[in-house]
Structures are given as structure tokens and as C-alpha cells.
């Protein structure tokens, strides 16, 4: 995959967990177009965990507000599992409050990206958080 904006970076595999398929699509297009990254998608926390265990992505973009199993529960499950605990997780959230942000870092998030996000800069934001 050729990076369109000329950002030279090792292609990464990202797992996007979000119950909104439209948002999955926008993120997927942005990441693949800008960074040339491969994007896996999951519509729930449970599905995301299965995907993570199956594919061991380079990073996970995790939505906070999801039905059934929210972002916090999903993160706990991933961190509790030896197979997935080392995969860096970045929260995608509409919750912009400082206290929430601190809580997210406290439980092991590597980064927090506010919604609505800019798909054209999403690659560089993730790279920034993870030191790629």
C-alpha cells in the first residue's frame, strides 16, 4: 500500500472497535489512505477481543461508549489477557473531560483521541502517541 501523503512509515495493522460502522469506515479509509495501514474492524467489545486475540494488531482504537461492553470493560479484558495485554490501546471518545482522560490513562490507555476526529491526521496522532 502506497502512502498517499508521502508519510513514510512501516505499514501497521490497527484494530478499530466501534459500534458505529460509519465511523469504522471513515477511520479505515483515513488510516489506509494516509498511512497505508491495514484496518481490522469490530462492532462490539466482545468481537474486538476475539479479533485482537486472533490477529494481534499493532494497536487498538477503542470507542468508549458502546452498548453491552463499554470501552473500559473491553480494555480491562484485553489487559487481563496475556495474549492481548501488550497491545497498545488508544481511546476514541466524545468525553473530553480532563478527569475522564486521566482515568483512561490510569487504567492503561496509551492515548486519547477526541471525537469527532480528523481522519486525515488520525495516522499521525496514533503514531505520536505510540512513538512510531
Amino acid at each position: 500500500v502506497k502512502p498517499l501523503l508521502g508519510i513514510s512509515m512501516t505499514p501497521k495493522q490497527i484494530l478499530m472497535i466501534d459500534d458505529e460502522t460509519d465511523i469504522q469506515t471513515v477511520a479505515r479509509i483515513g488510516l489506509s489512505l494516509v498511512g497505508g495501514w491495514q484496518v481490522l474492524t469490530a462492532s462490539s467489545g466482545a468481537e474486538g477481543i476475539l479479533q485482537a486475540k486472533g490477529h494481534r494488531p499493532d494497536a487498538i482504537l477503542l470507542d468508549v461508549m458502546m452498548p453491552d461492553m463499554d470501552g473500559f470493560a473491553t480494555l480491562s479484558a484485553l489487559k487481563a489477557d496475556a495474549e492481548t495485554q501488550s497491545i497498545p490501546i488508544i481511546f476514541l471518545t466524545a468525553k473530553a473531560k480532563a478527569a475522564d482522560r486521566q482515568k483512561m490513562y490510569a487504567i492503561g490507555a496509551q492515548g486519547v483521541i477526541n471525537k469527532p476526529f480528523d481522519p486525515t491526521t488520525l495516522t499521525s496522532q496514533i503514531a505520536g502517541f505510540l512513538g512510531w
Binding site: E20, I29, A98, T120
Partner: protein
């Protein structure tokens, strides 16, 4: 008979000795008898004593006594009265002895007697004296016992009249400057009707009025005691003689009555029907009585004076009593009005669904309504008088105290807090304290606590709604915005110029909508107390530098220079929020300043606080809008939101943030010379790591 011959012996005896035969005929009548009766023995010999010697009333009785004596049946002692030849009475006590013959029959009766007429007289005199002194003491006692003068005077005249056996006794009162009046009278004398008798009045019924003349009274005024004898005469002054003659008075005794050595009147006794001279004792008695009457009058006058005093005092007391009654009645009316008013107040307050109370300066309930009963489960009457700390739970009281104190310092206070109802249910309440200020002093506070749990529930629902709506709006916006962004940057492929213009418009408005949603959400969170700021000591210059760094690219886009002048001072702030406020202010300053201008951000130290300022080079703000711009959607120009991309909520959010930090925000502007926005933040309290601020805000 030897006894009859012993004339010499009989005659020499001092006692009366009479010898009767058994028929009662006098056989011997000794010298003593002759001397006493005036009869010769020769005259009486052979006569019966009861035929001439004895008082007629006694003769038949004595005859019976003598017969029984002869028959040996009667007592040897007896008493009778002999009438002398001159008619004089002699009281004699007899002792009789009978002489019997050889047949045992009585031949003679020998009676020896003692004339005790004088002793009887003396005894009567003594008795009279005794009665007089008894009367005097009675009257004296009456005078001392009874303070009713009239009764004393009447007692005196009637007693004296009875005792002296005179026809008339009366008392005349003759005051120094007043009419002469008859004070009391006792009479058994029916005087002849007067020639001139104009009325039935006692004084005018006869010539009695003559005694009530000044001439009569004045005659006796200077005297001590006078006895006028019209029969034996002479000696009566002509004026008195005339009066006594025309009144048919034979004897007159007059004693002036003095009281406290002042002439008061006269005590007068008259003999009209009989002529009997008064003994010195009787005269003396009259004099003493007059003295006692004087004392009685003095007593009566004292009493009268006393009565006057008593009346005066009674009148005073009555007036005082009346006044007291009046005052009591007024007080009662006031109190009953107060009670009515309190009752009404109680009715009104009891009907209120709020806790209403009056709390005094010692944190004691002075009044509370019925709601307290349902709230605390204690009869509401039992709450009045108790300490607030006895009623509300300790944690709540602890929170109340600073507000109570603030109200007791004269400030009106309103705050919201959670309280415990019925020991278990936590309820949100709004508490208002209104100081009761009288004579420049706070007497207590009116407290009103309303249950705002419904409002809180609605607020919670609203917050949830806002949160959900914002999430639901943001989710589609995220897709729309992301898609447009990808289109606009040509990642998918190049668009035609019109297509690109349209995508840019869509993208701008999506971003504006996103900002608006974010701002609405922020503001709602802050005003509904959902946000709790988490302040910590920060360096003012750090906050400014971070904000400038965040806004650098925007400033660059607008060709604006950002400059900072920050004193090395610490503030007590939640850096995230203060950054948001500074960014909002910087964003406005950049947007409204002309190209090439400089926006200056400063921080300077003041007492207990730090003052921040953001100065722009914009068009300025009209003075009438300097306040309103901090309200929601109150921009200076309504087109600003569209043209400058603002939401109209930025300054409202700034104000919320600063107020949450117990600071103040304001703006100054000279039209055409730019605007400066100021806000203050507290300095951290080094010891307590608390804001160096005052008591809670009202």
C-alpha cells in the same frame, strides 16, 4: 313576869327591843324604839305592830310570820320596815326569841332589832357609785372600741339619762364656724308644744330650739361645769333663766365638751318634771363623761381623717387599678393580636411544603413549622427551643454552620445541600437564611428549607438528555466530518472547483456544529454543578504559555503576534479549565484583532489573588455591552457567530469557569482601541493548600 319588869335593862340596851304577847300586842317598847319611831311606850302598849308601825305593804306578811313564830314554825330572823311617827321609813333586822310557860305554850315573843337604814342608804349609794363607774368604764370602753361617734354619743345620753333618772340628756355640737346642731338626745319628757312650731323637726317641735341658739352655747362655752337650779335659784344668768323658764326646766347641768383642748359642744342634763338635786358624784360623773366624749370625738376626727386618707389612697389605688386593667386589657389585646397573627403565621407556614423556622443567635429554634415534624419525626412543638445541632444530623450541621454565621453577620444566604430526611432518605434542599435585623442588630434569622429533589431529578434528566443528545449528535457528526475532511483534502480524488467549494462549506459548518455541541455540553455540565473543578497550585506563566502554544497556529493563520507578560506567581486553579478559558479569550482576541496586531496576555499579582488580562487590538466593545457579552449567545454583533466562527457561548463558559474558581471576570474597552478581558484567580494558601478566599459566597 320578870321580863316585863326589867324596864331599866331594856331601856339601857342600844338595840331595839319589843316584847309581844302571843296575840302580837306590844307589851314593852324600849327607849331605843321610842327614839327611833317617835312613839311613847304608853302610846303603843297593847297595840299590834302591824296596825300602825309596819309599812302597809308588809303588815299582812308580818302577821303571818308572827303567827308561825308563835307556833314555833318560823325562822327566828326577819327583816321589815317601820314607819316612824313622822312617816320616816326604817329598815330593821330582827332576831326573835319566844318565852314558853310550864304548859309549853308561848306566852311572849321578844324581838330585838337593829336599825340599818343608814347602812342601806350607804349601800345604795355605793351601788350607785359602782353603777356610775361601771357606766363610765362602759362608755370609755365604747369610746375606745367604737369609732362611730354617733353610736358613742347615743350610748352616752341614754345611759346617763337612765342612770341619773333625769328627764332629758342631750349633746349639742357647736363648731367654731358652723351651725349648732343636736348631736344626740335621750328623753322621757314630753315638753309642752311650742307656740311656734313650723316643722316636725325635733328641734322645732317645742322650745327645744332655744338650746341650739348661739347665745345659750356661748354662755357655757367658757365654763367648766354649771348646775343651774331654777327652784332654789337665784344665780342663773338672765339669758339662761329665760330659756330655762320657757322650757320648764327646773334643774340644768351643763358640761362643755372639749376635744384636744378646743371647745366642741355641750353635754346637758335637765330635770323638768321632778326636782332632785344632783350629788357631787353625779356631777363628777358628768364631767368625766364629757372628757370621754371629747376623746371619742378626737378619735372620730382621727378616723375621719384616716378615712379621708383611706379614701384618697383607695381612689389612688382604684385609679392605678383602672390603669393596670387598661394596660392589661391593651396587653391582652396586643397579645391576642400577636397570638392571632402567630396562629395565622403558623397556619400559613404549616401549609407550606418547606421547613420554615426562626433561629436565634445561639443557633436555637425559636419558631418552626409543622414540616419539621414530618421531616425529623419529632413533634414540631418539641423542636422549638432546641439547638439546631440537636435536630439536624452532625454532618449537615457542620456544613450549615458557616452559612448560619454568615447570616448572623447580616448577610442573606442561599445555598443548596443534601440533608437527611427521616433518618435515612437523602434529599437535595435549597436553604435560604434571611437575617432579622432590628436596631442595627441581628436578632436571629428566618430559615427556609425547600425540597428541591424534584428539580434535581429534572436537572439530572436534563443532563442525561444533554449527554445522550450530544453523543447521538456527535456520532453522526464524526462520520460526516471525517468523510468531508477526506473529500476536502483530495484524498479520494480531485473535485471540481464548485464541488470543492461546497465540500468546504459543509466541512466549515460541520466544525461549527461540533464546536457548538461541545460548548453547549461544557456549559450545561458546569452550570448544573456536574463539573467539580479540581484546583491545585499552578504557575500563572505556565498556564499562559501553554495557552499561547495551543493558539499559536490560529494566531499564525490570522497574522497575529501573541505576547506574554507574566509575574512569577502561583495561582490556585484547575489548569485544564483555566486553559480552556484562556484559549477562549485568546481565540476571541485573535479573531477580532486586525492582521499584524499583537495580543498581549498578562498576569500580575494582587492581594490574595492574581489578575490575568488578555488585550486585543480589535474594534472594541460598546460600553452597554460590556456586561451582557458574558451571557449566552450575546455577541456584540449577531453576524459574528457566522463570520468569525464563534458559538456565542465562549465567554459564558469562561465566566462559569472563573466563578467556579471563586474569581471574577470582566471586560474594559475603549471603542476603536481594542478590548481587555480580565479575570482573577485565588492564590494558593501555602499552609492549607486551600484557596485564600473568604467565606462561601452568598
Amino acid at each position: 313576869m320578870a321580863i316585863l319588869e326589867t324596864a331599866t335593862i331594856l331601856d339601857t340596851a342600844g338595840t331595839l327591843i319589843v316584847v309581844f304577847d302571843r296575840q302580837g300586842k306590844i307589851q314593852r317598847f324600849n327607849r331605843a324604839c321610842e327614839t327611833l319611831t317617835g312613839y311613847d311606850e304608853a302610846e303603843v302598849k297593847g297595840q299590834c305592830a302591824w296596825d300602825f308601825l309596819l309599812a302597809p305593804a308588809e303588815s299582812s306578811a308580818m302577821q303571818v310570820v308572827f303567827d308561825r313564830l308563835v307556833n314555833g314554825q318560823a325562822n327566828a330572823y326577819s327583816q321589815n320596815t317601820w314607819l316612824g311617827k313622822d312617816g320616816e321609813k326604817h329598815t330593821i333586822a330582827w332576831s326573835s326569841t319566844v318565852l314558853t310557860n310550864s304548859q309549853g305554850t308561848v306566852d311572849f315573843v321578844i324581838a330585838s332589832g337593829l336599825d340599818f337604814t343608814e347602812q342601806r342608804k350607804n349601800q345604795r349609794q355605793l351601788e350607785k357609785q359602782y353603777r356610775q363607774s361601771h357606766l363610765l368604764s362602759e362608755i370609755t370602753r365604747e369610746v375606745n372600741r367604737s369609732l362611730a361617734l354617733e353610736a358613742v354619743l347615743h350610748t352616752t345620753v341614754s345611759e346617763v339619762q337612765a342612770l341619773l333618772g333625769c328627764d332629758r340628756v342631750f349633746i349639742i355640737q357647736a363648731p367654731a364656724n358652723g351651725a349648732i346642731t343636736l348631736a344626740a338626745e335621750a328623753t322621757t319628757y314630753l315638753e309642752p308644744p311650742a307656740e311656734l312650731s313650723p316643722s316636725s323637726d325635733r328641734a322645732n317641735r317645742s322650745n327645744f330650739h332655744l338650746f341650739l341658739q348661739a347665745a345659750y352655747v356661748d354662755h357655757y362655752r367658757p365654763q367648766s361645769i354649771s348646775v343651774i337650779d331654777m327652784v332654789a335659784g337665784p344665780g342663773a344668768a338672765p339669758v339662761i333663766a329665760d330659756i330655762l323658764t320657757s322650757s320648764a326646766v327646773k334643774l340644768e347641768l351643763v358640761v362643755p365638751i372639749l376635744t384636744q383642748n378646743q371647745f366642741w359642744g355641750l353635754l346637758v342634763a335637765h330635770q323638768c318634771t321632778q326636782y332632785r338635786q344632783w350629788s357631787p358624784l353625779e356631777i363628777d360623773l358628768m364631767q368625766q363623761l364629757a372628757g370621754q366624749i371629747g376623746v371619742a370625738i378626737h378619735h372620730a376626727e382621727l378616723l375621719e381623717h384616716l378615712e379621708e386618707l383611706v379614701n384618697e389612697r383607695t381612689a389612688e389605688l382604684t385609679a392605678a387599678n383602672q390603669q393596670l386593667r387598661q394596660e392589661m386589657s391593651e396587653r391582652w389585646q396586643t397579645e391576642s393580636a400577636l397570638r392571632r397573627s402567630e396562629k395565622q403565621l403558623r397556619l400559613v407556614t404549616n401549609a407550606l411544603p418547606a421547613l420554615v423556622a426562626y433561629i436565634d443567635t445561639y443557633h436555637r429554634y425559636r419558631f418552626n413549622n409543622y414540616a419539621y415534624e414530618s421531616w425529623y419525626g419529632i413533634p414540631y412543638q418539641q423542636i422549638t427551643g432546641r439547638q439546631v445541632s440537636d435536630i439536624v444530623e452532625p454532618k449537615v450541621y457542620q456544613k450549615m454552620v458557616p452559612y448560619l454565621e454568615q447570616a448572623l453577620n447580616g448577610q442573606k444566604v442561599t445555598y443548596e445541600t443534601e440533608m437527611v430526611q427521616n433518618g435515612d432518605r437523602r434529599v437535595w434542599v435549597s436553604v435560604s437564611y434571611m437575617p432579622d435585623i432590628q436596631d442595627d442588630r441581628v436578632q436571629g434569622i428566618f430559615s427556609m428549607i425547600s425540597d428541591i429533589s424534584d428539580r434535581k431529578a429534572i436537572e439530572r434528566l436534563k443532563d442525561e438528555f444533554v449527554s445522550i443528545v450530544s453523543h447521538e449528535l456527535r456520532t453522526p457528526l464524526t462520520s460526516v466530518h471525517g468523510s468531508l475532511k477526506l473529500l476536502a483534502t483530495g484524498q479520494i480524488g480531485e473535485l471540481g472547483s464548485q464541488g470543492k467549494e461546497l465540500v468546504d462549506i459543509a466541512l466549515d459548518n460541520t466544525e461549527r456544529l461540533t464546536r457548538l455541541i461541545n460548548d453547549v455540553l461544557d456549559l450545561e455540565r458546569m452550570t448544573s454543578d456536574q463539573v467539580s473543578i479540581d484546583p491545585a497550585p499552578c504557575l500563572a506563566s505556565d498556564l499562559i504559555n501553554q495557552a499561547i502554544k495551543a493558539m499559536q497556529s490560529m494566531a499564525h493563520d490570522h497574522s497575529i503576534t501573541l505576547a506574554a507578560e507574566a509575574a512569577p506567581v502561583m495561582v490556585w486553579a484547575d489548569s485544564d479549565y483555566i486553559m480552556q478559558a484562556l484559549i477562549n479569550l485568546l481565540s476571541n482576541a485573535i479573531k477580532f484583532s486586525p492582521k499584524g496586531a499583537t495580543v498581549l496576555v498578562k498576569a500580575r499579582s494582587a492581594i490574595n489573588k492574581v489578575e490575568f488580562s488578555v488585550k486585543d487590538g480589535g474594534r472594541g466593545i460598546p460600553s452597554d455591552k460590556l456586561e451582557t457579552i458574558f451571557e449566552r449567545f450575546q455577541q456584540v454583533d449577531t453576524s459574528d457567530a457566522r463570520e468569525r466562527g464563534g458559538t456565542g457561548l465562549g465567554l459564558a463558559i469562561c465566566r462559569e469557569i472563573i466563578q467556579q474558581h471563586q474569581g471574577r471576570i470582566w471586560a474594559k474597552s475603549l471603542h476603536g482601541h481594542g478590548s481587555t478581558f480580565y479575570f482573577t484567580l485565588p492564590k494558593p494558601d501555602v499552609d492549607k493548600t486551600m484557596p485564600a478566599s473568604d467565606a462561601p459566597t452568598a
